[in-house]
Amino acid sequence: MAEPLTGTLAEPLVEHLAEPLTEPLGARTRWAVRSWWLCAGMWMRSTMAYRASFALTLGASLVTHSLDFVVLVLMFRHTDQLGGWTLPELAFLYATATFALGIANLLVGSVDGLGARIVNGTLDTMLIRPAPALSQLCAERFSLRRLGRPIQALAVLVWSLATLDVTWTWDRVLLVPALLVCGCVIFGAIYVGGATVQFWWGEAKEIQNSVTYGGATLLHYPPTIFAKELVAGVVFGVPLAFVNWLPALHILGRPDPLGLPTAFQYASPLAAALCVAVAGLAWRAGLRAYRGTGS
Protein backbone atom coordinates (compact mmCIF):
# COMPACT_ATOMS: atom_id res chain seq x y z
CA MET A 1 0.00 0.00 0.00
CA ALA A 2 2.82 2.42 0.76
CA GLU A 3 4.16 3.22 -2.66
CA PRO A 4 5.71 6.49 -3.83
CA LEU A 5 3.34 9.36 -4.38
CA THR A 6 2.51 10.91 -7.66
CA GLY A 7 3.14 14.62 -7.86
CA THR A 8 -0.29 15.81 -8.95
CA LEU A 9 -2.16 14.30 -6.04
CA ALA A 10 -0.10 15.91 -3.36
CA GLU A 11 -1.12 19.40 -4.42
CA PRO A 12 -4.37 20.69 -3.01
CA LEU A 13 -6.96 21.65 -5.58
CA VAL A 14 -6.55 25.41 -5.61
CA GLU A 15 -9.09 26.16 -8.31
CA HIS A 16 -11.80 25.93 -5.70
CA LEU A 17 -10.46 28.94 -3.90
CA ALA A 18 -10.71 31.05 -7.03
CA GLU A 19 -14.41 30.31 -7.35
CA PRO A 20 -16.73 33.18 -6.46
CA LEU A 21 -18.40 32.53 -3.14
CA THR A 22 -21.82 33.85 -4.10
CA GLU A 23 -23.32 33.27 -7.50
CA PRO A 24 -26.11 35.25 -9.16
CA LEU A 25 -29.70 34.08 -8.67
CA GLY A 26 -30.02 32.65 -12.18
CA ALA A 27 -26.96 30.45 -11.82
CA ARG A 28 -28.10 29.36 -8.38
CA THR A 29 -31.51 28.36 -9.68
CA ARG A 30 -29.94 26.39 -12.52
CA TRP A 31 -27.65 24.67 -10.08
CA ALA A 32 -30.60 23.86 -7.78
CA VAL A 33 -32.52 22.28 -10.65
CA ARG A 34 -29.46 20.37 -11.81
CA SER A 35 -28.83 19.07 -8.28
CA TRP A 36 -32.42 17.92 -8.12
CA TRP A 37 -32.02 16.19 -11.48
CA LEU A 38 -28.83 14.40 -10.39
CA CYS A 39 -30.30 13.16 -7.11
CA ALA A 40 -33.64 12.21 -8.66
CA GLY A 41 -31.77 10.15 -11.25
CA MET A 42 -30.00 8.26 -8.48
CA TRP A 43 -33.27 7.55 -6.70
CA MET A 44 -34.96 6.49 -9.89
CA ARG A 45 -32.29 3.92 -10.56
CA SER A 46 -32.49 2.79 -6.93
CA THR A 47 -36.18 1.97 -7.19
CA MET A 48 -35.59 0.18 -10.47
CA ALA A 49 -33.59 -2.33 -8.44
CA TYR A 50 -36.95 -3.77 -7.34
CA ARG A 51 -38.71 -4.18 -10.65
CA ALA A 52 -41.61 -6.43 -9.69
CA SER A 53 -42.61 -4.19 -6.82
CA PHE A 54 -42.24 -1.18 -9.11
CA ALA A 55 -44.68 -2.51 -11.70
CA LEU A 56 -47.16 -3.57 -9.05
CA THR A 57 -47.13 -0.23 -7.24
CA LEU A 58 -47.35 1.79 -10.46
CA GLY A 59 -50.34 -0.31 -11.51
CA ALA A 60 -51.92 -0.01 -8.09
CA SER A 61 -51.36 3.74 -8.06
CA LEU A 62 -53.04 4.08 -11.47
CA VAL A 63 -56.08 2.16 -10.25
CA THR A 64 -56.18 3.80 -6.80
CA HIS A 65 -56.23 7.25 -8.21
CA SER A 66 -58.78 6.31 -10.87
CA LEU A 67 -61.11 5.21 -8.09
CA ASP A 68 -61.83 8.79 -7.11
CA PHE A 69 -63.09 9.35 -10.62
CA VAL A 70 -65.04 6.09 -10.65
CA VAL A 71 -66.87 7.37 -7.59
CA LEU A 72 -67.78 10.56 -9.46
CA VAL A 73 -69.06 8.48 -12.38
CA LEU A 74 -71.09 6.31 -10.01
CA MET A 75 -72.62 9.43 -8.50
CA PHE A 76 -73.65 10.58 -11.96
CA ARG A 77 -75.46 7.30 -12.57
CA HIS A 78 -77.99 8.68 -10.12
CA THR A 79 -78.11 12.29 -11.30
CA ASP A 80 -77.39 14.49 -14.34
CA GLN A 81 -75.81 17.33 -12.45
CA LEU A 82 -74.08 18.06 -9.17
CA GLY A 83 -74.35 21.61 -7.86
CA GLY A 84 -75.54 22.53 -11.36
CA TRP A 85 -72.43 21.09 -13.11
CA THR A 86 -72.41 18.16 -15.55
CA LEU A 87 -70.12 15.12 -15.51
CA PRO A 88 -67.76 16.37 -18.27
CA GLU A 89 -67.43 19.65 -16.35
CA LEU A 90 -66.66 17.81 -13.13
CA ALA A 91 -64.25 15.61 -15.05
CA PHE A 92 -62.47 18.78 -16.16
CA LEU A 93 -62.16 19.94 -12.55
CA TYR A 94 -61.13 16.47 -11.42
CA ALA A 95 -58.50 16.06 -14.13
CA THR A 96 -56.90 19.48 -13.72
CA ALA A 97 -56.72 19.28 -9.92
CA THR A 98 -55.42 15.71 -9.95
CA PHE A 99 -52.85 16.46 -12.65
CA ALA A 100 -51.52 19.48 -10.79
CA LEU A 101 -51.30 17.60 -7.51
CA GLY A 102 -49.77 14.56 -9.20
CA ILE A 103 -47.00 16.46 -10.97
CA ALA A 104 -46.22 18.53 -7.87
CA ASN A 105 -46.11 15.36 -5.81
CA LEU A 106 -43.83 13.69 -8.34
CA LEU A 107 -41.38 16.57 -8.49
CA VAL A 108 -41.28 17.98 -4.96
CA GLY A 109 -43.69 15.86 -2.87
CA SER A 110 -40.90 14.18 -0.90
CA VAL A 111 -40.15 17.46 0.81
CA ASP A 112 -42.75 16.45 3.38
CA GLY A 113 -40.20 14.00 4.83
CA LEU A 114 -38.36 16.98 6.32
CA GLY A 115 -39.51 16.37 9.90
CA ALA A 116 -38.25 12.79 9.87
CA ARG A 117 -34.92 13.90 8.39
CA ILE A 118 -34.48 16.47 11.14
CA VAL A 119 -35.17 13.82 13.79
CA ASN A 120 -32.79 11.20 12.41
CA GLY A 121 -30.11 13.75 11.56
CA THR A 122 -29.93 13.06 7.83
CA LEU A 123 -30.80 16.66 7.01
CA ASP A 124 -27.30 17.47 8.26
CA THR A 125 -25.72 15.15 5.70
CA MET A 126 -27.58 17.11 3.03
CA LEU A 127 -26.36 20.41 4.41
CA ILE A 128 -22.70 19.40 4.09
CA ARG A 129 -22.99 18.83 0.36
CA PRO A 130 -22.53 21.72 -2.05
CA ALA A 131 -26.00 21.09 -3.53
CA PRO A 132 -29.04 22.93 -2.13
CA ALA A 133 -30.68 20.91 0.66
CA LEU A 134 -34.12 21.70 -0.76
CA SER A 135 -33.18 20.11 -4.10
CA GLN A 136 -31.89 16.99 -2.37
CA LEU A 137 -34.95 16.79 -0.17
CA CYS A 138 -37.42 17.19 -3.03
CA ALA A 139 -35.63 14.53 -5.07
CA GLU A 140 -35.69 12.09 -2.16
CA ARG A 141 -37.20 8.71 -3.13
CA PHE A 142 -38.08 10.10 -6.55
CA SER A 143 -39.87 7.38 -8.43
CA LEU A 144 -41.74 7.22 -11.68
CA ARG A 145 -44.34 5.08 -9.95
CA ARG A 146 -45.84 8.36 -8.81
CA LEU A 147 -46.75 9.01 -12.43
CA GLY A 148 -49.90 6.92 -11.87
CA ARG A 149 -51.86 9.92 -10.66
CA PRO A 150 -51.03 12.43 -13.43
CA ILE A 151 -51.33 9.79 -16.17
CA GLN A 152 -54.88 8.85 -15.30
CA ALA A 153 -55.69 12.55 -14.80
CA LEU A 154 -54.55 13.25 -18.36
CA ALA A 155 -56.76 10.44 -19.66
CA VAL A 156 -59.76 11.95 -17.89
CA LEU A 157 -58.82 15.41 -19.19
CA VAL A 158 -58.75 14.20 -22.77
CA TRP A 159 -62.18 12.59 -22.37
CA SER A 160 -63.52 15.73 -20.73
CA LEU A 161 -62.19 18.12 -23.40
CA ALA A 162 -63.66 15.90 -26.09
CA THR A 163 -67.07 15.77 -24.42
CA LEU A 164 -67.42 19.32 -23.05
CA ASP A 165 -69.99 21.54 -24.70
CA VAL A 166 -67.78 24.63 -24.91
CA THR A 167 -67.15 27.21 -27.63
CA TRP A 168 -63.37 27.11 -27.83
CA THR A 169 -62.34 30.75 -28.19
CA TRP A 170 -58.59 31.44 -28.23
CA ASP A 171 -58.45 32.70 -24.66
CA ARG A 172 -60.19 29.55 -23.41
CA VAL A 173 -57.79 27.36 -25.35
CA LEU A 174 -54.79 29.22 -23.93
CA LEU A 175 -56.14 29.07 -20.41
CA VAL A 176 -56.02 25.26 -20.32
CA PRO A 177 -52.23 24.79 -20.51
CA ALA A 178 -51.70 27.92 -18.41
CA LEU A 179 -53.99 26.49 -15.75
CA LEU A 180 -52.18 23.15 -15.77
CA VAL A 181 -48.76 24.72 -15.33
CA CYS A 182 -49.91 27.19 -12.68
CA GLY A 183 -51.72 24.42 -10.84
CA CYS A 184 -48.54 22.34 -10.61
CA VAL A 185 -46.60 25.37 -9.40
CA ILE A 186 -49.20 26.27 -6.77
CA PHE A 187 -49.37 22.73 -5.39
CA GLY A 188 -45.56 22.51 -5.51
CA ALA A 189 -45.28 25.72 -3.51
CA ILE A 190 -47.83 24.40 -1.01
CA TYR A 191 -45.76 21.24 -0.59
CA VAL A 192 -42.60 23.22 0.08
CA GLY A 193 -44.23 25.90 2.19
CA GLY A 194 -46.15 23.32 4.19
CA ALA A 195 -43.08 21.20 4.77
CA THR A 196 -41.28 24.26 6.07
CA VAL A 197 -43.62 24.27 9.06
CA GLN A 198 -41.90 21.04 10.11
CA PHE A 199 -38.79 23.05 10.97
CA TRP A 200 -40.77 24.27 13.97
CA TRP A 201 -43.36 21.57 14.41
CA GLY A 202 -42.18 18.12 13.38
CA GLU A 203 -45.64 16.56 13.19
CA ALA A 204 -47.09 19.07 10.75
CA LYS A 205 -46.96 16.59 7.87
CA GLU A 206 -50.52 15.42 8.35
CA ILE A 207 -51.87 18.98 8.37
CA GLN A 208 -50.07 19.50 5.09
CA ASN A 209 -51.79 16.38 3.73
CA SER A 210 -55.14 17.93 4.48
CA VAL A 211 -54.17 20.97 2.42
CA THR A 212 -52.67 19.06 -0.50
CA TYR A 213 -54.79 15.90 -0.75
CA GLY A 214 -57.79 17.52 0.90
CA GLY A 215 -57.33 20.53 -1.35
CA ALA A 216 -57.25 18.41 -4.49
CA THR A 217 -60.39 16.57 -3.36
CA LEU A 218 -62.09 19.90 -2.77
CA LEU A 219 -61.21 21.01 -6.30
CA HIS A 220 -62.78 17.86 -7.78
CA TYR A 221 -66.19 19.34 -7.03
CA PRO A 222 -67.71 22.59 -8.30
CA PRO A 223 -67.45 25.59 -5.96
CA THR A 224 -71.25 25.88 -5.97
CA ILE A 225 -71.70 22.96 -3.56
CA PHE A 226 -69.56 24.45 -0.79
CA ALA A 227 -70.25 27.12 1.79
CA LYS A 228 -69.25 30.59 0.52
CA GLU A 229 -66.85 31.06 3.45
CA LEU A 230 -64.94 27.94 2.38
CA VAL A 231 -64.72 29.12 -1.23
CA ALA A 232 -63.51 32.55 -0.11
CA GLY A 233 -60.95 30.80 2.08
CA VAL A 234 -59.35 29.04 -0.89
CA VAL A 235 -59.34 32.24 -2.94
CA PHE A 236 -57.83 34.61 -0.40
CA GLY A 237 -56.30 32.19 2.13
CA VAL A 238 -54.58 29.15 0.69
CA PRO A 239 -55.02 30.11 -2.97
CA LEU A 240 -56.21 26.71 -4.19
CA ALA A 241 -59.04 28.26 -6.18
CA PHE A 242 -56.48 29.51 -8.71
CA VAL A 243 -55.47 25.92 -9.50
CA ASN A 244 -58.67 25.27 -11.45
CA TRP A 245 -61.87 26.78 -10.05
CA LEU A 246 -61.38 30.38 -11.15
CA PRO A 247 -59.95 29.73 -14.64
CA ALA A 248 -62.48 26.90 -15.13
CA LEU A 249 -65.32 29.36 -14.54
CA HIS A 250 -64.12 31.24 -17.58
CA ILE A 251 -63.39 28.18 -19.71
CA LEU A 252 -66.75 26.59 -18.95
CA GLY A 253 -68.66 29.86 -18.99
CA ARG A 254 -70.05 29.48 -15.48
CA PRO A 255 -71.02 32.33 -13.12
CA ASP A 256 -68.75 32.92 -10.14
CA PRO A 257 -70.62 32.04 -6.92
CA LEU A 258 -68.63 34.75 -5.10
CA GLY A 259 -69.16 37.34 -7.85
CA LEU A 260 -65.46 38.27 -7.98
CA PRO A 261 -64.10 40.52 -10.78
CA THR A 262 -63.30 38.54 -13.97
CA ALA A 263 -59.63 39.48 -13.55
CA PHE A 264 -59.43 36.72 -10.92
CA GLN A 265 -60.12 34.14 -13.62
CA TYR A 266 -56.91 35.13 -15.40
CA ALA A 267 -54.85 35.65 -12.26
CA SER A 268 -53.50 32.11 -11.80
CA PRO A 269 -49.95 32.96 -12.98
CA LEU A 270 -49.83 35.82 -10.50
CA ALA A 271 -51.12 33.58 -7.71
CA ALA A 272 -48.55 30.92 -8.64
CA ALA A 273 -45.70 33.44 -8.57
CA LEU A 274 -46.88 34.71 -5.21
CA CYS A 275 -47.05 31.16 -3.83
CA VAL A 276 -43.50 30.43 -4.99
CA ALA A 277 -42.22 33.63 -3.41
CA VAL A 278 -43.92 32.90 -0.10
CA ALA A 279 -42.76 29.29 -0.09
CA GLY A 280 -39.20 30.33 -0.91
CA LEU A 281 -39.11 32.90 1.86
CA ALA A 282 -40.64 30.41 4.30
CA TRP A 283 -38.01 27.83 3.40
CA ARG A 284 -35.22 30.33 3.97
CA ALA A 285 -36.68 31.37 7.29
CA GLY A 286 -37.08 27.73 8.31
CA LEU A 287 -33.54 26.80 7.39
CA ARG A 288 -32.23 29.84 9.23
CA ALA A 289 -34.17 28.87 12.31
CA TYR A 290 -32.83 25.33 12.07
CA ARG A 291 -29.24 26.50 11.76
CA GLY A 292 -29.78 28.93 14.58
CA THR A 293 -29.53 32.33 12.92
CA GLY A 294 -33.20 33.12 13.12
CA SER A 295 -34.47 33.00 16.66
Binding site: M1, L9, P12, L21, L38, S46, I128
Partner: protein
Protein backbone atom coordinates in the same frame (compact mmCIF):
# COMPACT_ATOMS: atom_id res chain seq x y z
CA UNK B 1 -1.19 28.38 7.74
CA UNK B 2 -4.02 28.03 10.20
CA UNK B 3 -6.80 26.11 8.49
CA UNK B 4 -9.26 26.04 11.36
CA UNK B 5 -9.55 28.98 13.71
CA UNK B 6 -11.95 29.35 16.61
CA UNK B 7 -12.04 32.35 18.84
CA UNK B 8 -14.33 32.31 21.86
CA UNK B 9 -16.99 30.38 19.94
CA UNK B 10 -20.25 29.85 21.80
CA UNK B 11 -23.43 28.03 20.97
CA UNK B 12 -26.54 27.90 23.12
CA UNK B 13 -29.71 25.91 22.55
CA UNK B 14 -33.11 26.57 23.95
CA UNK B 15 -34.49 23.36 25.33
CA UNK B 16 -38.14 23.01 26.13
CA UNK B 17 -38.72 20.41 28.79
CA UNK B 18 -42.10 19.15 29.86
CA UNK B 19 -42.42 19.83 33.53
CA UNK B 20 -45.96 18.69 33.97
CA UNK B 21 -48.86 17.39 31.97
CA UNK B 22 -49.35 20.68 30.17
CA UNK B 23 -46.65 22.99 31.42
CA UNK B 24 -43.37 23.44 29.66
CA UNK B 25 -40.24 25.17 30.73
CA UNK B 26 -37.71 26.90 28.51
CA UNK B 27 -34.10 26.47 29.44
CA UNK B 28 -30.87 27.67 27.87
CA UNK B 29 -28.21 25.03 27.39
CA UNK B 30 -24.67 26.02 26.51
CA UNK B 31 -23.44 23.24 24.23
CA UNK B 32 -20.23 25.07 23.36
CA UNK B 33 -19.03 27.64 25.80
CA UNK B 34 -16.12 29.85 24.78
CA UNK B 35 -14.11 27.52 22.55
CA UNK B 36 -10.77 28.79 21.18
CA UNK B 37 -8.23 26.77 19.25
CA UNK B 38 -6.29 26.72 16.01
CA UNK B 39 -5.48 23.79 13.73
CA UNK B 40 -2.62 24.20 11.27
CA UNK B 41 -2.78 22.84 7.74
CA UNK B 42 -1.67 19.22 7.63
CA UNK B 43 -2.32 18.48 11.27
CA UNK B 44 -4.20 15.39 12.38
CA UNK B 45 -6.13 16.15 15.55
CA UNK B 46 -8.14 13.86 17.79
CA UNK B 47 -11.20 15.64 19.14
CA UNK B 48 -12.59 13.69 22.04
CA UNK B 49 -14.85 14.00 25.02
CA UNK B 50 -17.78 12.28 26.69
CA UNK B 51 -21.18 12.18 25.02
CA UNK B 52 -22.92 15.55 25.17
CA UNK B 53 -19.64 17.41 25.70
CA UNK B 54 -20.19 19.55 22.61
CA UNK B 55 -18.22 17.55 20.05
CA UNK B 56 -20.89 17.22 17.44
CA UNK B 57 -22.04 20.81 17.97
CA UNK B 58 -18.49 21.93 17.21
CA UNK B 59 -18.33 19.79 14.07
CA UNK B 60 -21.71 21.14 12.95
CA UNK B 61 -20.43 24.69 13.36
CA UNK B 62 -17.20 23.88 11.55
CA UNK B 63 -19.17 22.48 8.61
CA UNK B 64 -21.56 25.44 8.56
CA UNK B 65 -24.65 23.43 9.50
CA UNK B 66 -25.05 25.35 12.73
CA UNK B 67 -24.41 29.03 13.19
CA UNK B 68 -22.49 30.00 16.35
CA UNK B 69 -24.29 32.12 18.93
CA UNK B 70 -21.13 34.11 19.38
CA UNK B 71 -17.40 34.25 18.69
CA UNK B 72 -15.36 34.00 15.51
CA UNK B 73 -14.93 30.94 13.36
CA UNK B 74 -12.98 30.39 10.13
CA UNK B 75 -12.35 27.21 8.17
CA UNK B 76 -10.19 27.09 5.04
CA UNK B 77 -10.38 30.83 4.81
CA UNK B 78 -14.17 31.23 4.92
CA UNK B 79 -16.84 31.82 7.53
CA UNK B 80 -18.74 28.49 7.58
CA UNK B 81 -22.03 30.03 8.67
CA UNK B 82 -22.11 32.49 5.79
CA UNK B 83 -20.46 30.45 3.05
CA UNK B 84 -21.76 26.97 3.83
CA UNK B 85 -22.04 25.81 0.22
CA UNK B 86 -18.66 27.23 -0.82
CA UNK B 87 -17.10 25.58 2.22
CA UNK B 88 -18.74 22.26 1.36
CA UNK B 89 -16.44 22.00 -1.65
CA UNK B 90 -13.39 22.32 0.55
CA UNK B 91 -14.26 19.85 3.25
CA UNK B 92 -14.98 16.14 3.43
CA UNK B 93 -17.13 14.59 6.12
CA UNK B 94 -17.48 10.94 7.10
CA UNK B 95 -19.95 9.70 9.69
CA UNK B 96 -19.06 6.24 10.92
CA UNK B 97 -22.64 5.38 11.76
CA UNK B 98 -24.34 6.90 8.76
CA UNK B 99 -23.30 6.13 5.23
CA UNK B 100 -23.76 8.73 2.52
CA UNK B 101 -23.47 6.07 -0.18
CA UNK B 102 -26.49 5.06 -2.25
CA UNK B 103 -27.81 1.88 -0.72
CA UNK B 104 -29.27 0.11 -3.74
CA UNK B 105 -26.77 1.29 -6.35
CA UNK B 106 -23.27 0.12 -7.25
CA UNK B 107 -20.52 1.89 -5.33
CA UNK B 108 -19.32 3.51 -8.55
CA UNK B 109 -22.60 5.44 -8.90
CA UNK B 110 -22.08 7.18 -5.56
CA UNK B 111 -18.65 8.31 -6.72
CA UNK B 112 -20.09 9.50 -10.03
CA UNK B 113 -22.65 11.60 -8.19
CA UNK B 114 -19.88 13.13 -6.07
CA UNK B 115 -18.04 14.00 -9.27
CA UNK B 116 -21.01 15.98 -10.52
CA UNK B 117 -22.18 17.51 -7.27
CA UNK B 118 -18.65 18.66 -6.39
CA UNK B 119 -17.91 19.54 -10.04
CA UNK B 120 -14.64 17.63 -9.98
CA UNK B 121 -12.65 18.07 -13.19
CA UNK B 122 -12.52 14.79 -15.15
CA UNK B 123 -8.77 14.23 -14.97
CA UNK B 124 -8.66 15.02 -11.28
CA UNK B 125 -11.56 12.65 -10.68
CA UNK B 126 -9.93 9.77 -12.53
CA UNK B 127 -6.65 10.24 -10.69
CA UNK B 128 -8.24 10.54 -7.27
CA UNK B 129 -10.57 7.61 -7.82
CA UNK B 130 -7.69 5.47 -9.05
CA UNK B 131 -5.61 6.36 -6.03
CA UNK B 132 -8.46 5.71 -3.56
CA UNK B 133 -9.38 2.42 -5.21
CA UNK B 134 -5.78 1.34 -4.97
CA UNK B 135 -5.15 2.43 -1.39
CA UNK B 136 -8.50 1.20 -0.09
CA UNK B 137 -8.52 -1.98 -2.14
CA UNK B 138 -11.92 -1.20 -3.69
CA UNK B 139 -11.11 -2.63 -7.09
CA UNK B 140 -13.51 -5.56 -7.13
CA UNK B 141 -16.23 -3.65 -5.31
CA UNK B 142 -17.01 -0.75 -7.63
CA UNK B 143 -19.88 -2.55 -9.33
CA UNK B 144 -21.33 -4.08 -6.17
CA UNK B 145 -24.53 -2.51 -4.75
CA UNK B 146 -23.69 -0.81 -1.49
CA UNK B 147 -26.23 -2.85 0.44
CA UNK B 148 -24.18 -5.97 -0.32
CA UNK B 149 -20.96 -4.51 1.10
CA UNK B 150 -19.69 -5.36 4.56
CA UNK B 151 -19.47 -2.61 7.15
CA UNK B 152 -15.73 -2.31 6.59
CA UNK B 153 -16.07 -2.15 2.81
CA UNK B 154 -18.79 0.46 3.15
CA UNK B 155 -16.63 2.61 5.39
CA UNK B 156 -13.82 2.44 2.84
CA UNK B 157 -16.31 3.50 0.19
CA UNK B 158 -17.45 6.41 2.34
CA UNK B 159 -13.86 7.52 2.85
CA UNK B 160 -13.20 7.46 -0.87
CA UNK B 161 -16.41 9.41 -1.56
CA UNK B 162 -15.36 12.09 0.93
CA UNK B 163 -11.94 12.54 -0.63
CA UNK B 164 -12.63 12.61 -4.36
CA UNK B 165 -12.94 16.39 -4.42
CA UNK B 166 -9.60 16.93 -2.66
CA UNK B 167 -10.94 18.49 0.51
CA UNK B 168 -8.54 20.58 2.54
CA UNK B 169 -10.15 19.43 5.77
CA UNK B 170 -11.53 15.99 6.55
CA UNK B 171 -13.90 15.55 9.48
CA UNK B 172 -14.27 12.00 10.69
CA UNK B 173 -16.88 10.98 13.21
CA UNK B 174 -16.18 7.53 14.63
CA UNK B 175 -14.64 6.20 11.41
CA UNK B 176 -13.78 2.79 12.88
CA UNK B 177 -16.91 2.13 14.91
CA UNK B 178 -18.15 -1.44 14.57
CA UNK B 179 -15.27 -2.53 12.32
CA UNK B 180 -13.17 -5.65 12.86
CA UNK B 181 -9.48 -5.35 13.68
CA UNK B 182 -8.31 -5.82 10.10
CA UNK B 183 -10.69 -3.21 8.71
CA UNK B 184 -9.78 -0.76 11.46
CA UNK B 185 -6.11 -1.18 10.60
CA UNK B 186 -6.77 -0.59 6.93
CA UNK B 187 -8.82 2.56 7.56
CA UNK B 188 -6.14 3.98 9.84
CA UNK B 189 -3.38 3.23 7.38
CA UNK B 190 -5.33 4.97 4.65
CA UNK B 191 -5.96 8.04 6.77
CA UNK B 192 -2.31 8.26 7.68
CA UNK B 193 -1.47 8.04 4.02
CA UNK B 194 -3.94 10.76 3.04
CA UNK B 195 -2.73 13.05 5.78
CA UNK B 196 0.89 12.58 4.78
CA UNK B 197 0.53 12.43 1.04
CA UNK B 198 -1.91 15.26 0.40
CA UNK B 199 -1.43 17.25 3.54
CA UNK B 200 -5.15 16.95 4.25
CA UNK B 201 -5.98 18.31 7.67
CA UNK B 202 -7.86 15.71 9.68
CA UNK B 203 -10.17 16.27 12.63
CA UNK B 204 -11.24 13.02 14.21
CA UNK B 205 -13.78 12.25 16.91
CA UNK B 206 -13.71 8.75 18.28
CA UNK B 207 -14.20 6.56 21.30
CA UNK B 208 -11.39 4.27 20.20
CA UNK B 209 -8.13 5.38 21.76
CA UNK B 210 -6.13 3.32 19.29
CA UNK B 211 -7.39 5.55 16.46
CA UNK B 212 -5.88 8.51 18.25
CA UNK B 213 -2.71 6.70 19.19
CA UNK B 214 -1.99 5.64 15.66
CA UNK B 215 -3.12 8.74 13.81
CA UNK B 216 -3.06 11.89 15.85
CA UNK B 217 -0.11 13.86 17.03
CA UNK B 218 -2.44 16.09 18.97
CA UNK B 219 -5.49 15.49 21.13
CA UNK B 220 -8.12 17.91 22.27
CA UNK B 221 -10.42 16.87 25.07
CA UNK B 222 -13.64 18.80 25.35
CA UNK B 223 -16.10 18.74 28.20
CA UNK B 224 -19.04 20.95 29.00
CA UNK B 225 -18.32 22.87 25.83
CA UNK B 226 -14.78 23.83 26.78
CA UNK B 227 -11.33 22.51 25.91
CA UNK B 228 -9.99 20.82 29.03
CA UNK B 229 -6.88 19.34 27.45
CA UNK B 230 -4.89 20.21 24.34
CA UNK B 231 -1.59 18.46 23.68
CA UNK B 232 0.09 15.18 22.87
CA UNK B 233 -1.37 11.79 23.66
CA UNK B 234 1.37 11.00 26.16
CA UNK B 235 0.39 14.00 28.18
CA UNK B 236 -3.16 12.74 28.24
CA UNK B 237 -2.09 9.42 29.66
CA UNK B 238 -0.06 11.23 32.27
CA UNK B 239 -2.87 13.58 33.07
CA UNK B 240 -5.13 10.62 33.74
CA UNK B 241 -3.37 7.57 35.10
CA UNK B 242 -5.05 5.05 32.82
CA UNK B 243 -5.13 1.29 33.05
CA UNK B 244 -5.23 -1.44 30.47
CA UNK B 245 -6.99 -4.71 31.06
CA UNK B 246 -5.67 -8.21 30.54
CA UNK B 247 -8.45 -10.73 30.10
CA UNK B 248 -7.34 -14.30 30.78
CA UNK B 249 -9.26 -17.53 30.26
CA UNK B 250 -7.93 -20.12 32.70
CA UNK B 251 -8.35 -23.85 32.31
CA UNK B 252 -10.76 -23.90 35.24
CA UNK B 253 -12.70 -21.59 37.51
CA UNK B 254 -10.77 -20.43 40.54
CA UNK B 255 -10.77 -17.52 42.97
CA UNK B 256 -8.99 -14.29 42.02
CA UNK B 257 -5.44 -15.12 41.00
CA UNK B 258 -2.42 -13.24 42.29
CA UNK B 259 -0.02 -11.64 39.84
CA UNK B 260 2.57 -8.99 40.67
CA UNK B 261 2.03 -5.65 38.94
CA UNK B 262 -1.67 -6.26 38.28
CA UNK B 263 -4.85 -6.65 40.25
CA UNK B 264 -7.93 -8.71 39.49
CA UNK B 265 -10.97 -6.50 38.97
CA UNK B 266 -13.51 -9.11 37.90
CA UNK B 267 -13.99 -12.86 37.94
CA UNK B 268 -16.54 -14.71 35.86
CA UNK B 269 -16.14 -18.50 35.82
CA UNK B 270 -12.73 -19.35 34.36
CA UNK B 271 -12.38 -15.81 32.97
CA UNK B 272 -10.63 -13.12 34.98
CA UNK B 273 -9.94 -9.42 34.28
CA UNK B 274 -6.63 -7.96 35.44
CA UNK B 275 -5.95 -4.23 35.43
CA UNK B 276 -2.43 -2.83 35.06
CA UNK B 277 -1.01 0.66 34.33
CA UNK B 278 -1.28 1.60 30.67
CA UNK B 279 2.35 2.65 30.36
CA UNK B 280 3.62 -0.79 31.54
CA UNK B 281 4.19 -3.56 29.05
CA UNK B 282 1.74 -6.46 29.16
CA UNK B 283 4.45 -9.05 28.47
CA UNK B 284 5.82 -9.62 32.02
CA UNK B 285 2.30 -9.89 33.40
CA UNK B 286 1.29 -12.41 30.75
CA UNK B 287 4.46 -14.37 31.51
CA UNK B 288 3.73 -14.29 35.22
CA UNK B 289 0.19 -15.58 34.72
CA UNK B 290 1.32 -18.30 32.32
CA UNK B 291 4.01 -19.45 34.75
CA UNK B 292 1.62 -19.89 37.65
CA UNK B 293 -1.71 -20.93 36.14
CA UNK B 294 -2.84 -23.12 33.22
CA UNK B 295 -3.84 -20.58 30.55
CA UNK B 296 -6.29 -21.23 27.68
CA UNK B 297 -6.58 -17.81 26.05
CA UNK B 298 -5.89 -14.15 26.70
CA UNK B 299 -6.44 -10.69 25.28
CA UNK B 300 -5.40 -7.15 26.14
CA UNK B 301 -7.97 -4.35 26.17
CA UNK B 302 -7.00 -0.75 25.73
CA UNK B 303 -8.37 1.76 28.18
CA UNK B 304 -11.64 3.30 27.04
CA UNK B 305 -11.30 6.95 26.30
CA UNK B 306 -14.04 7.73 28.81
CA UNK B 307 -12.04 5.99 31.52
CA UNK B 308 -8.96 8.00 30.69
CA UNK B 309 -10.91 11.21 30.75
CA UNK B 310 -12.79 10.25 33.88
CA UNK B 311 -9.50 9.57 35.61
CA UNK B 312 -8.14 12.83 34.32
CA UNK B 313 -10.97 14.74 35.94
CA UNK B 314 -10.48 12.83 39.16
CA UNK B 315 -6.81 13.84 39.11
CA UNK B 316 -7.66 17.45 38.41
CA UNK B 317 -10.18 17.45 41.25
CA UNK B 318 -7.70 15.94 43.71
CA UNK B 319 -4.66 17.89 42.52
Amino acid sequence: MALIELEDVRRTFTVRARTGRFSREKREVRAVDGLSFTVEAGECVGYIGPNGAGKSTTIKMLTGILVPSGGRLRVAGVDPARERVALARRIGVVFGQRTTLWWDLPLRDSFELARRIYRIPDRRYRENLGRCVELLDLDGLLDTPVRQLSLGQRMRGDLAAALLHDPQVLYLDEPTIGLDVVSKGRVREFLREVNRERGTTVLLTTHDLTDIEQLCGRVMVIDHGRVVYDGGLDGLHEAGESERTLVVDLAESRPAIEVPGARVVKVEGPRQWLAFPARESAAPIVAAVAARYPLVDLSVREPAIEDVIARMYAEVAIG
